[in-house]
Symmetry: D2
Subunit: 304 residues, 4 copies
Amino acid sequence: MDFEKILQELPAQMRELCGKGRVATYIPALARVPANKFGMTLCRVDGGCYSVGDSEERFSIQSISKVFTLSLAMSRCGEALWRRVGREPSGNRFNSLVQLEYEKGIPRNPFINAGAIVVCDMLLSHLSNPKQNLRDYLRVLSGGFDIDFDEEVARSEAETGFINYALANFLKGHGNLHNDVDEVLDLYFHQCSLALSCSELAQAMTHLASAGVSKRLGEALLTPAEVKRINALMLTCGTYDAVGEFAYRVGLPAKSGVGGGIVAVLPGEYAVAVWSPELDPSGNSLAGGAALEYLTTVTQRSIF
Amino acid sequence: MDFEKILQELPAQMRELCGKGRVATYIPALARVPANKFGMTLCRVDGGCYSVGDSEERFSIQSISKVFTLSLAMSRCGEALWRRVGREPSGNRFNSLVQLEYEKGIPRNPFINAGAIVVCDMLLSHLSNPKQNLRDYLRVLSGGFDIDFDEEVARSEAETGFINYALANFLKGHGNLHNDVDEVLDLYFHQCSLALSCSELAQAMTHLASAGVSKRLGEALLTPAEVKRINALMLTCGTYDAVGEFAYRVGLPAKSGVGGGIVAVLPGEYAVAVWSPELDPSGNSLAGGAALEYLTTVTQRSIF
Amino acid sequence: MDFEKILQELPAQMRELCGKGRVATYIPALARVPANKFGMTLCRVDGGCYSVGDSEERFSIQSISKVFTLSLAMSRCGEALWRRVGREPSGNRFNSLVQLEYEKGIPRNPFINAGAIVVCDMLLSHLSNPKQNLRDYLRVLSGGFDIDFDEEVARSEAETGFINYALANFLKGHGNLHNDVDEVLDLYFHQCSLALSCSELAQAMTHLASAGVSKRLGEALLTPAEVKRINALMLTCGTYDAVGEFAYRVGLPAKSGVGGGIVAVLPGEYAVAVWSPELDPSGNSLAGGAALEYLTTVTQRSIF
Amino acid sequence: MDFEKILQELPAQMRELCGKGRVATYIPALARVPANKFGMTLCRVDGGCYSVGDSEERFSIQSISKVFTLSLAMSRCGEALWRRVGREPSGNRFNSLVQLEYEKGIPRNPFINAGAIVVCDMLLSHLSNPKQNLRDYLRVLSGGFDIDFDEEVARSEAETGFINYALANFLKGHGNLHNDVDEVLDLYFHQCSLALSCSELAQAMTHLASAGVSKRLGEALLTPAEVKRINALMLTCGTYDAVGEFAYRVGLPAKSGVGGGIVAVLPGEYAVAVWSPELDPSGNSLAGGAALEYLTTVTQRSIF
């Protein structure tokens, strides 16, 4: 597979989508990102990486962080995690209170906001220094030694995050939050504010394409069973309420963020990260999704 | 991979689950199937098949038929199909009217009852002799020349299928059914009554494991893109409201039926069919799911 | 209270609303009723009646019939009726399947379609000749000896009533319909097709304003307790999903129909019927509601 | 009507219900109220009052306070109030987030928690000293010069009120809260903590039985139109999700609280307050509802 050639073709193609989506504007730091950014990095499990466009520019990874907090929580809490959060697609908007109410405070899965807030709560209970531990985990995974939170973004999230406050209080009211609402949300808003580049994200995902082993670190970060499970969750719950559409078109386990990033893996072959800030109506990067669809179409390789 | 050995181990293991699920009892023909049946057949894409237990006994395939009606409809209607039915997991019970009402008569996906009824409606509009055409399609795919409807089952379904009548009338009231309610449901109840054995079902699924090509027939039945899409739909929508759980534990695109059957594929490697009548609370075969989980666990191979 | 003068003022006032609502068009017989019709009759409990406009013209009473089928059913089944239908406002569209599904086939109240269909089912079980018995009940109550079903309307309702077929099948599927779906709906569509004039309807309602006693017939048709209950149900459930609005503005127990009629009572004082075909967005007669609001405002008398 | 005699009969009758309901236990101050308390006061519009049992003992009026905050808000904001809160029964649990989400942050009515929180927000915007103004309003209405908040109750409500925090944040997130969440909820928790006796509450309600005029104060507090509207809202929304049942059995506009109090009026005749801490499953006082049903049954007088 000539990944280099495929990636080189993308920026021109993606330019046609420019202006057809909408950059997230609910906080100033996201609103001011230029709409025409496009970057992508693909790392093969055997070590070779291919990049194109703005692949070295850091952006707000937002919900992509939920893959990493889930990984951390799975390694700390094991199966006990699933007593407090489900693993079914939600069939509803990612911040829906409706389902949470019908299901008595047990979020559908760890990738909707309510579920990710519960995961934060577990990390708070299990880590000595949750924010730093999480940041350092990303540094190690990605090799980006100066990866950090964007404090402006974290502050903006906190100031405008009334729906997340509503979710967290609702979880607390149903007994599914053990720590203080404010502490949990502080961690949550910080995880969303983490800034990484495509090349850092692709690196940070490679172990999910290689049965849990990081070639770069020379060690197993997760068991094969854990990897299978995280990938299954990405496939069924990773792209908001477009998971069916995404599986149908792209066919890779993936997780997207409202900052315009998407990470995906083809197990046994590669991890990939793509970034383009304009979103489609379901909240996934418009050009990012199209680039991944192109990738799996021309290579004729997906998990299906 | 020594599939033969793996399959031989299963019946003994599955015996432990006997009595822990519940056989479907809503119609007499299903209720009287012995609970302790267990059969399984795995067919490799290169042609070798492995069977164990009651793999030659025919059973009511029920919702498994939805894979085949969808395949037929995709080949006849193409992308137009998706204007009348969605492709997202439902997050609700398979016969839920709630979602259908909120979404104005567009079923979430072709594997929930409402969606399968819309697919039937399309087949009625596109096929000259829908019931026979469907039956013959299964005969060709499986190689079972005498595969047929179980008229007793079809009649029982019609007599007790008030919720399906409700769904069809609701679809009709929203303009998403072009033929008569009774005609559409007659086809629907017949497709559910088709009786096949595990070995026939595994054969009928092999092209979904080999990019659309049937080795036995020596021809391409579907394009690679169509196969990718059907497999994606099975993964995200194929096992009622346990799709997340199933992806997490088993990690294969699969479709289950209330008769206790499950079909699944590992693209590029094998198609598999398993049958055991006792169901878990989500309506999937208890031992069938467990057998597939064992298979992907010991082989350390799934799509993830 | 000079009711004569108040009624005389209404047609001119109501003319201003002409063109601001929409006549029901789902069946031809309703669609062709002239939009500018307006009639009203008020009958005092002491016997005096006042009429204005098209008060002698018969129209399709539609859901207003549900008051009379409920009265009949209460007199035949007593409290047992409430095991199969609730008495709470629905908070949802009058033909909603959603609530019915969440509440396992027990309709919220006898004035939503599902509830009225269950009431029909009870009448079928308790009356020797349900259609004629119902028609004759209306003849006696109203004094209109030639009141009858409009067979064209009944037929149209049956031909287009897919949502009602869906509701009835859903009820049957949940065990809350004892007779055949088609028989129950035949009675239901016929009750909706009954054609009465405002003066006949006002007469037919007077006993609900006078503790159950019909002056004209010289007998008690209902007990005071039954009257209180029917009036309470009209107030809390009688005007689709605008019951709060209607209570707030008008302040009378009332039942409306999609044909543009509304009946209401001020207990101890009067019964009133008004008709004007244009409907507001909630499905209640626009001018009819305005006329009743005017009536209770200028007289400064409502139940509140 | 011999109200004195009727009231004297009640305590003995109500004793039979003792132990059949459940005292609210979500905060300590409510949990420790003796279950066997029963008090009632009825004040005729002409001035005579009748009391029985523990009618002079103050209790936490909880949601009954919503009648008084609504009255205050209506007099300050007029019809503008209804742009931010609806006036339809909810058909759902009183603290439901589901409906609020479907309806984009506009609460169904001012008596569900979300609606009362919006009313608090308006009072905060319109009153110079909201808490004291509200308390003093109650003092004037009831004649209880030392009526006050129960600070222990207010504090407990704040400490355990996660669902109310969820509601308020959700409203804020939808732009339907203009002041700080904490300030609004502080007022809300205080209004719920107001402690009054039955005789004080009956006094405070008399103007709602006499077209807005307080005989005791010798002045009109509300217009007849405002009274009609508040009474209509109590009837359609005042008793949680049992409004239909309550209208059916009792037939009076009423507002209940989780402290076991219920206030009601028969316009033109009397205001009544009853208190008994054990609640039925819908959250209304069990003996309180039964006492009011007895009252309207033996007097054969209700609004219907």
